[in-house]
Amino acid sequence: MTLKECYTALEGDYEEVITRLRSEKMVQKFVLKFLNDKSHELLVTSMETKNYEEAFRAAHTIKGVCQNLSFTRLYESSHILTENLRTGYGDETDGLVQRVEKDYQQTIAAIKELQAENPS
């Protein structure tokens, strides 16, 4: 799988990220690094412990990273969650978390495939 195909699988914007960050090598490096990013884990645990302020920051961070890497799909869902959590926990929060979770898994799956073919 190429980086471009990976972006298609995780529904990101390959053209955009290459224009912004200029180097395919660098983008690939950080895409792979996304697997080790702890903010998703932080989001899950802080939702469990009902620490919604922390959850807000975690969602915010995911959103920021996705923005940097042009992971459009995950960016959108994490962006909506961030805005929802900004005012604290609400009726829709759990649903939005699930949506982020689904998109996150899709993203991770695609990156893992990329990783399998590009062992570092």
Binding site: R22, D37, E54, R57, G64, N68
Partner: protein, 706 residues
């Protein structure tokens, strides 16, 4: 740190503050080739790095949403300490709400870049910002250099001018230099003699520079008069005298610079350096203090140098002769103070004049430059202010360190405590503590309530009376010690004033307090049993009765039956042990609010408040006092009285309980009884009314009181 020519100077350092490791490493990747990178994963870390490295950080890349302290918090701290003036900040944030952007710019950030950012643009902005700040710094240096140059040039112009005069006068090139040196020496010493003549360094420097121009008017004096060997005729002398007025007029006629202090001083000197203190000089015949000090001093210097130099019309006198002539008034009258001054520095004069090399001159010029720089504050104000601030901070830190006090500063927004270096060491805490109210270590140390209590006290003050004192315990290395915190609340100047935070110090008063506690303990307690002594108990009971006159209280007095036999059979040591044991039983059998005391000997007292029936409580205590100690059978006799029986006067209560106790003794011991009217007028156990014959046999008197 050098800011110029990126390539050759040491690499500049960028601090990246972002809670996401991903974001930090993307930025590091983009900038790491050209710059040193430091990373902080929250605002507190960023602040502490900034504090540690200061201006060595060339740029801060700052995220807004971060744990511990957010980006705005960091900016607030940077503003507070004025770091923002020297360290540029670029905010990179996914927050794009215009309020965020506005707030960031208001707090002094240079750029606000939103995510997702374009690598090239970000890189360009980083480079530009660093260059811009470097240029600004360079510009400040440049302006500083120009002032230096300007000063040097004006010094040069003065030198050229005065040398032209000297050349025409046929004087040695040293004259101007000598006058300057003499003027300086005299002026400086004059300040020591009389504070009236104490001038700031800048003023002295100015007069010295201006002194070079004293004879400038001689340019207009015909050469044949000027350089005539031998005595001048009266007519010629009148012409010669004019050089003072001519010099003054030349300066007055300058089309510009009339307001320059240098020009003003030079005017005084040119015009009046031939005036004499007794009014017999020229051109205006000024007298005494009418003559500006600058002119008086230059006049004396001029005379001395003229005497000791060779001129067309005379030979050089020696130093001693010259001084002698001046002091004798051969060259006109000078200010007596100035004469005294001359006498006092006479011995160093010669030496100074001989050593008047170029080096000294340039040193003096350097001083002038320094003075001049101080006059141009606006150009380097921030730099100098920063230096002063740094100086003050150094001083403060030094004193704070020396004083062995824990000094602190608290700000509400961001919620932060800054400790003095000593304080941080002593407490084992960081110098900067964020959100102290929720800091676990602080809570552990102070206990949950203390910090809140101090904070409430401070918030309860007013701008007029902002100070509070609070004693509390602090746990340091597992040991609890008493501390005294004296704080001053900081109120804003707004109306109504807002609580901004506080400053203060915490001192260890443990030893002092322990001593006082020990004294209080000694004064209020019975040393053998550790119970209250009678006097102290009486005071406490009276207090209690007065505060709640309608409360239901009971007072019981008891003593040990057959205590004398215990003493007799087992010895007094054993007797003491029994008393200590009884005190312990007593302590265990009463409740928190009750008062127990040793009245004396083997008599004890209990004061308690009851709810329904006093008897229930008395019964319980009475039972718990009985038992055995080693082989000794403990039995007590107890007399009790309630406040509803005899009122709340302590002496009445005590007396009634005493009589009840007597009644018990009379009827066979080992019991308790409440006072009743039948006992009225009975004898007392504790204070027998008439003689000891009525006192029960087992009374031990006062033994064992101490």
């Amino acid at each position: 740190m050098s800011f110029i020519n990126g390539k050759k100077s040491p690499r500049q350092t960028i601090l990246i503050a972002d809670d996401s490791e991903m974001n930090r490493s993307i930025l590091t990747d983009m900038l790491g080739d050209e710059y040193e990178i430091m990373e902080a994963e929250n605002g507190v870390e960023a602040v502490s790095i900034l504090q540690k490295y200061g201006n060595a950080i060339s740029l801060l890349l700052l995220d807004i949403v971060m744990p511990e302290m957010d980006g705005f918090g960091v900016l607030n701290v940077m503003n507070k300490h004025r770091w923002i003036e020297d360290i540029p900040v670029i905010v990179i944030s996914a927050e794009t709400a215009s309020t965020h952007v506005e707030r960031a710019y208001e707090l002094g950030v240079t750029e606000f870049i939103s995510r997702p950012f374009d690598a090239l643009i970000l890189h360009r902005r980083v480079v530009n910002t660093i260059l811009l700040y470097a240029k600004q710094k360079k510009l400040i240096d440049l302006v500083t250099d120009q002032i230096y140059e300007k000063e040097q040039q004006s010094g040069l112009m003065v030198d050229i001018l005065s040398h032209i005069v000297e050349f025409r006068n046929g004087e040695s090139g040293q004259h101007v230099l000598h006058i300057r040196t003499l003027t300086e020496l005299l002026l400086k010493h004059l300040g020591h003699i009389d504070s009236k003549y104490q001038f700031p360094r800048s003023e002295i420097s100015l007069i010295c520079t201006a002194s070079a121009l004293h004879d400038i008017g001689k340019i207009a004096i015909p050469g044949e008069v000027l350089n005539k060997p031998g005595r001048l005729t009266d007519e010629e002398f009148e012409i010669m005298k004019k050089h003072t007025l001519i010099g003054a007029e030349m300066l007055k006629a300058l089309p510009m610079h009339q307001e320059e202090p240098l020009v003003k001083k030079a005017y005084e000197i040119c015009r009046w350096h031939h005036e004499r203190y007794d009014g017999r000089g020229y051109p205006d015949g000024l007298k005494g203090e009418e003559i500006p000090v600058s002119a008086q001093v230059v006049a004396l210097a001029d005379v001395y140098d003229a005497l000791t130099s060779e001129r067309v019309y005379k030979k050089a006198f020696t130093h001693d002769v010259a001084i002698q002539m001046i002091l004798e008034g051969k060259c006109g009258q000078f200010n007596p103070m100035l004469m005294e001054c001359l006498r006092e520095i006479e011995s160093v004069l010669q030496e100074e004049l001989q050593g008047d090399s170029d080096v000294r001159t340039s040193m003096r010029q350097m001083q002038n430059v320094a003075e001049e720089l101080l006059h141009h504050e606006e150009l380097s104000a921030s730099e100098r202010t920063l230096q002063l601030l740094e100086h003050e901070r150094m001083k403060y830190r030094f004193y704070a360190d020396m004083s062995e006090e824990i000094q602190f500063e608290y700000t509400v927004a961001p919620s932060m405590v800054t400790l003095s270096a000593y304080g941080a060491r002593k407490l084992g805490l960081d110098e900067i503590l964020m959100d102290p109210h929720n800091n676990e270590k602080v809570q552990e140390m102070m206990g949950t309530g203390t910090l809140r209590a101090i904070s409430n006290e401070l918030r309860g003050t007013t701008p007029e009376h902002p100070q509070v004192k609070y004693d509390h315990e602090v746990c340091i290395n597992g040991e609890k010690r008493w501390m005294r915190t004296i704080g001053r609340a900081m109120w804003s100047a707004d109306e109504p004033p807002r609580y901004m935070g506080a400053i203060g110090k915490t001192t260890d008063i443990h030893d002092e307090r322990t001593r006082i506690d020990a004294l209080v303990q000694m004064a209020s307690h019975d040393s053998m049993t550790g119970l209250f002594n009678h006097n102290y108990a009486k005071e406490r009971i009276r207090e209690r009765l007065q505060n709640r006159p309608n409360g239901k209280f009971a007072l019981a007095i008891f003593d040990l039956d057959h205590f004398k036999s215990a003493n007799d059979n087992y010895g007094h040591m054993f007797g003491d042990k029994v008393l200590i044991h009884m005190a312990e039983r007593l302590r265990r059998s009463i409740r928190g609010g009750d008062i127990a005391a040793r009245v004396g000997g083997d008599e004890f007292l209990i004061f308690l408040e009851y709810k329904e029936e006093a008897e229930t409580a008395i019964q319980r205590i009475f039972t718990s006092l009985e038992g055995t100690f080693e082989d000794f059978q403990i039995s007590v006799s107890m007399g009790v009285v309630r406040t509803d029986m005899v009122g709340i006067d302590y002496d009445e209560l005590f007396h009634a309980a005493d009589q009840a106790l007597y009644a018990v003794k009379r009827s066979g011991r080992g019991k308790y009884r409440f006072y009743d009217d039948s006992m009225y007028g009975m004898l007392s156990v504790i204070s027998p009314i008439d003689g000891s014959e009525e006192k029960p046999a087992d009374q031990t008197g006062e033994r064992g009181m101490l």
